[in-house]
Amino acid sequence: MGLLLFDLVLATVVLLLAGTAIFSRNLTHAVMLFMAFGVMMALAWARLAAPDLALAEAAIGAGLTGALCFTALVRQPAALDSKVATSLLPICFVALITAALLFSVWQIPVSPNPALSHEVSVALPQSGVAHPVTAVLLNFRSWDTLLELLVLLLALLGAQQAQSSLTLYAGWSLSLSWSRLLSPLIILLTGYLLWRGAAAPGGAFQAGALLASGLVVLRLNQQLTWLSWQNPWVRLAALSGLLVFVLTGLFSLLWSSSRLWLEWPTAYAGAVILGIESFATLAIAVTLTLLVVGEPTEERADA
């Protein structure tokens, strides 16, 4: 009963946030509500027994998306209060389609087809890790993950093309020292998430996103000035996840007995996965940081 009540209230809050973010007349406002929406989604994942996703959503929704949206927000022209004519016809149209969708979603059988879950639990001991989500991501469906890293890289390449200049302003000493104080903690936590990924919720993406938000904070406070795509080492770091992934795949292709693409020998699978994940974490962190911060010009520190 308490659980159901919680679900209902959570659903109400999420819907309110989403609705106001879309229908609000002020864009700044919409962005902030959207960030709160991210936190609420993290709670929803937590409630629905998906701690991996809750971690990821917390890192992205509560952290990076906000920084990203604010960057776009400061560029918005001054006249922000848009004259949204909420006309009835489109609303009715969308409502009709949503109702139809709702009808079909309700038809989904409540008891799922257990074949795939069963398959996962059977194959789990050969995957090299104990946590099924990590096993799926880096062993059973590792090709998806490789392509996903490629998508991330492509976003960066595209954003490089659309580079626009932004100035970084000298920070207050308070925010600067606070970010410096936080950074060892963030690095520690990153390592913890990465290492735990083998046996419990956590893993490369969550760790990478967390590290990225640490880097973003430092970068926005005019630290880490070497962090730029022009720097070949940074480029190498951003590509390292993919490179290691592909090269490990090729290596296993040549050396494993069955000669299959992305097949890790069971004995070494755990180590291979941890290795790939470490580089993927680095790559994800660097890529996300570059995506959020861009290539800003530094303002001279004012006295």
Binding site: T28, V74, D81
Partner: protein, 122 residues
């Protein structure tokens, strides 16, 4: 054990009271800086009480983790309160680009601190 459980629940409920107090403060306080305090202080205290209440029922490892979380939230509450307040003060002194008022809210805005912002936004 039952008195421990009772203590735990008492602390949890007390935490809840502080959360509600924070929200009420946010709702009812007259100007933005007091509202800032309502959120950053009361909620931090509420969280602390919740953590205490929960740690009575948990193992020492979980308790340690929860205390770390509380410590973090406490520090971040203090720091971000400072940052936000300073930011808001500076924003009031300068030409704001994005702190726009919705039309119609200029008139009924009661808070003295927000008045200069409103004036410049137009």
């Amino acid at each position: 054990m039952s008195w421990l459980d009772g203590l735990s629940w008492f602390l949890l409920l007390l935490g809840l009271v502080f959360f509600i107090a924070g929200s009420l403060g946010l709702l009812r306080f007259p100007d933005q800086f007091s509202r800032l305090h309502a959120v950053t202080k009361a909620d931090t205290l509420g969280l602390g009480l919740v953590v205490l209440g929960l740690s009575i029922q948990s193992s020492w490892r979980e308790t340690l983790l929860m205390l770390l979380i509380w410590l973090l939230v406490m520090c971040s509450g203090a720091v971000s309160c400072q940052l936000l307040a300073r930011f808001s003060r500076d924003a009031a002194d300068a030409e704001p680009l994005i702190s726009h008022q919705e039309p119609g809210q200029t008139a009924n805005s009661t808070s003295p601190a927000s008045a200069p912002v409103t004036k410049r936004a137009e």
